[in-house]
Assembly symmetry: D2
């Protein structure tokens, strides 16, 4: 063992530090909104950090992005339009476009420099999705877009960084915001929200997103996936206007997969759908303690 040389240090909390050995720095810059580092790590391959926090890594971005996107897409009986909030790397978009039923995919990310750097240095993430004729990329504040748009969507996917004080996503997890998302969803519309860490010590945020969506949507579920490059069990909250996501049978999901020609899934498959929704007891019991997030009292992440 000889851990000399170049390392990237992530301070998860004051009390816990991760050190990643760096093979190469591909890009390092400061956009208007955040510090962007794209590194080639010995442990995880190409990896994106925003404000020194790991975002997605080559070894398992497919796990994160399939876990985020596919349950929602499959929950909708026939998604033709999708809206992605955030998702700068383009991999969320890539997952949406795997569904042949999709006619239009709008992605709204506030940080054009992040999108550009991702297209250049992480092309496997978007894998051509930005060039797909069904894609519309908008560089803007997602809240503004959602409150102003006239369009409706079958699926909305929230792929945002956690709401930091002064950060761009503070008012994108509130009841007011989700009410408006509900307005622009179609009849069987589905919303999924990446909801941060699910672990015992840090799951307030996930519980609060769950609780907030429960104020608005008839069917809300929460599921967890272990993301190796985050070292974390991760939470995703899904809200549906009609079908209950966790009750969908493997048979129905298989029919949907076949009819939409969905291929190249490496993590999600219908047979694993149900299992995602088995959550650990500490999270299960925490759900009722989440608080309703509002514009007046939003969630501020402080790890």
């Amino acid at each position: 063992m000889n851990p000399e040389g170049l390392w990237f240090r992530e301070i998860f909390t004051d009390n816990l530090i991760f050190g990643y050995r760096v093979k190469r720095v591909l890009y390092s810059g400061q956009s208007r909104f955040q510090k962007i580092d794209i590194l080639d790590l010995y442990a995880y391959g190409k990896t994106l950090f925003l404000d020194n926090k790991i975002q997605s890594a080559q070894i398992d971005e497919h796990i994160y992005h399939e876990a985020l996107v596919q349950p929602a897409m499959f929950t909708h009986p026939e998604p033709k339009s999708a809206l992605i909030i955030g998702g700068g790397e383009g991999a969320t978009l890539r997952e949406v476009l795997k569904h042949g039923s999709i006619e239009k995919a709008v992605m709204v990310d506030i940080d054009g420099e992040l999108v550009d750097a991702s297209r250049k240095y992480l092309p496997e993430w978007s894998d051509g999705a930005f060039d797909d004729s069904r894609t519309e990329l908008i560089i803007d504040d997602a809240r503004k877009y959602i409150f102003e748009t006239d369009e409706k969507f079958d699926v909305v996917i929230s792929d945002l960084t956690e709401p930091l004080e002064g950060g761009p996503s503070k008012y994108l997890f509130t009841k007011e915001f989700y009410n408006r998302v509900n307005d622009i969803l179609t009849e069987s519309g589905v919303l999924v929200v990446q909801s941060g860490s699910a672990v015992q010590m840090y799951n307030d945020f996930a519980a609060s997103v769950y609780r907030t969506l429960g104020e608005i949507f008839p069917a809300v579920g929460i599921y967890t996936v272990y993301i190796e490059s985050f070292q974390m069990l991760w939470a995703f909250t899904i809200a549906s206007r009609k079908e209950r996501p966790e009750d969908l049978s493997e048979e129905v999901l298989n029919i949907r997969m076949k009819s939409r020609g969905v291929e190249n899934l490496r993590f999600y498959l219908p047979k694993y759908h149900r299992g995602l929704f088995y959550i650990p007891r500490y999270l299960d019991e925490k759900l009722s303690e989440g608080r309703v997030l509002t514009d007046a009292d939003p969630y501020i992440w402080t790890a």
Copy 2:
């Protein structure tokens, strides 16, 4: 953020380092078998490290130990005797003794200094279990014990460190060893083996334990639990001579819990039993690639 002062550095691999801020060093010593550090960490409370690898932590040792012990104990219809291999801290023993049906619990650990240090500095782990009249503590090589004993057990729990080259547990994960375990199990006997990391990049060992047990036992299952203080999804392999662990109904499990007077469970409950067995696709598909471990070609852990 001011991460100055005392830290404990765990080199998970050459490419990934964890740093834990240390509040207090409770014990630090070198036993005949391993380096033992018992620290009070800001992130996790009191924590045991063996050879600089984290073993169990105050915030979630209950998760690890309930996850290891309870599924096996509940799989057996009425466990009266249990054998624990390893488990130096005494928490595995504590979990076994929660079952009122237990008349005898034998624990065999090779490292008496570890047991002594755990009793002194981690008394919450054993919580009186070493003083329970049903307990028999043997400081010896578990392989020797198992090959020489005349006794039979309803449940055998393997709570060992991973098999390092030159370490004490190298021949405690082989087909020959498990064959002998099978011999000393009673008719409905159950064996559970802590099987290391379940994560995408490092699950060979778990798959190989699974494969090896499959050579011997009629019903083998594998389940995973996220252990926050390990930053890892963890694998446990369970082998049963009769009942299939994952098929047990919540109803049956609840009856067993009540009849045995099992209380104070903080992580495991019958209603979560089934969910544990939903494993991620990468592990599921890896199971067939595990190899049968033998005395001639045992597993050597090299992270």
Copy 3:
């Protein structure tokens, strides 16, 4: 190389970190004034840290303390009384008492807990000095003592931590303070001040101490010594009411050493006296840029 386990991390600046491997934690506490850590380091042996900054280490505390004390003691023709400001470990006192001419040594340190911990865990530092009948130990604010005392001293030694905002030594490096020191010095009195780092990037403080003393004393000198455990070239400023320290001949110094029976010197000897005063060009040229420190505008150390 296998740098696992327990380490102490000193953040010298945001841009430079030192990591010391820890063999044992001897003492760790928070006094009224500062965080105190006494560690046994693999690199340096027993080592004292105050507020996470290294203060003195077994391998070279003799270098630091002889360098601080001996040039001043030898500059005075016959020191009978000495006053030490700070110097909690007792090693500065130990060096003073090596001079047989000394009849009285007063040490004023604000932090009684530091003195107690040093006596208990670093007994080699004071080496009996606290029990010497010539010693008077006063736990109090040195500024208060100096302004109130009626006594006079032949040698005054300032062995204080750098003046941090809110720290106890902020007003112990000002012109007003040194004016009062001048008042309590005898006719041939000598003052020496540990003056922090002498290195190119961080020598403002040393230059300012030099400049401030120059406002008051007829002969002021500055000398540097490399302290291995600090990784630094260190500055000491010496002010004399009569003899010029750097002009003293080896012959005169040898006579003084013999007549006072000074023994057991491991770093300082008369033949090295002159060489100490050769300072590097960057420090030499910086001296004129130091500013006069005053109570109204004291120095605040921010590395």
Copy 4:
């Protein structure tokens, strides 16, 4: 303080680690002989690392290189030719060429990739020296060159990395090698050797170089300089066939400086020459303990 992000970790010994915050990676590669990293550090500006060991940094490479070159150049009464062994960055060459008396400067470095990377990414180091018409650059093994050359030189400068096992400089510090250097020196020839750390704990190598040169040359001196970016007091050994380097008067040195038109010195000046040779007692007393290095028993650096 927020030491997140990109850092370079230098393991000085198993027990002491330096961490440097990285602004930018300028170059990172593996030549035939060594790992080369050229980084822009927040603490030191542009910095060269070879095999993860710091070599020279923007804030004080002038100190290192003037300290290495100027005392030797000024010791020779009129240097017309100089040979540099190693010195890949070109700054040693730059210092030589400041002397107007120089008609020819030969530099022999084994690592052409290092020279190329230095010219490209550290142009301030050579500052045009490689394009000077007096310069002859040879990419070859210096030992081979020295044993085969027919030329003679007034000054020879050894600017090599420490002799690591298996490294290229193992046989470039031996008596046999220096004997041959003596052969190719002119009558008043001077040799200077960068001799590694001078600190109390690690000065064997410096003492051994001093001792080895003492077997061959009539006048040998050793001097030390604190190099901030190395965190170290550094040793240089100088051997002269005629004039004793440390006895040269400031007056003579000033005349030489003027007559050769030496300008732009930032660290060395005649008035500081004498002071360099005052070495600390621990090094002084260690000199007699150095051993004579030979081809049969060379020095191998193991920190």
